[in-house]
Symmetry: C2
Amino acid sequence: MDQDRAGDPECPGLLPEPAVAELRLEAVLHALSDPTRLRIVAELAGVGGGELNCLAFELPVTKSTLTHHFRVLREAGLIRQHRRGTSKMNTLRAADLAARFPGLLDAVLAAAGSCFATPKSTTH
Amino acid sequence: MDQDRAGDPECPGLLPEPAVAELRLEAVLHALSDPTRLRIVAELAGVGGGELNCLAFELPVTKSTLTHHFRVLREAGLIRQHRRGTSKMNTLRAADLAARFPGLLDAVLAAAGSCFATPKSTTH
């Protein structure tokens, strides 16, 4: 099911990801149902269409757990990952998600914003 | 965390459920991340604010699995359940969800509608 464009010369270093038409609602909702993954998505949304290095996320989990979370997000189609040297760069697939499931990501991000507002200080 | 109003004379037979302020985004998204539960929610949305008996759902799962799914939905705050005699009646907590997470349920239902449109005939 993955659209593996890793060998595409136009997308060097792109890791496998589902095409827009292959995005599954259950997988997207499952990916978003974890607080760490929700926070990653919210941080990526916070930089607009920008990309963030995996190492840029200050989250209270081990590196291997974080790698797992990024993989779940990528395989569900929420984020795009490129290898750049020894780093992985991440972008939110906001336009793809809006095309497939209109309004869903915006509603989740708005809800996450109100949820994270209070307890955020406890993670620092 | 549950708001147990089971003994409330104004709500006879009401099963324990979280109050609106206690609704957790991750739990709601997790509850919605299963195709059977999504279908239950979509069917309840289809009857407006109406209630449906658990037995009214024609789903390809065992009775005990269905009971589990209803419980997950109730504990996440998506549905309200009342005992009536030997039956359990279910209603969607659409207004409560809209108050806590504006736009979320509508976006999920719209997405589910487009997903279910094609494969629905395979379940009959």
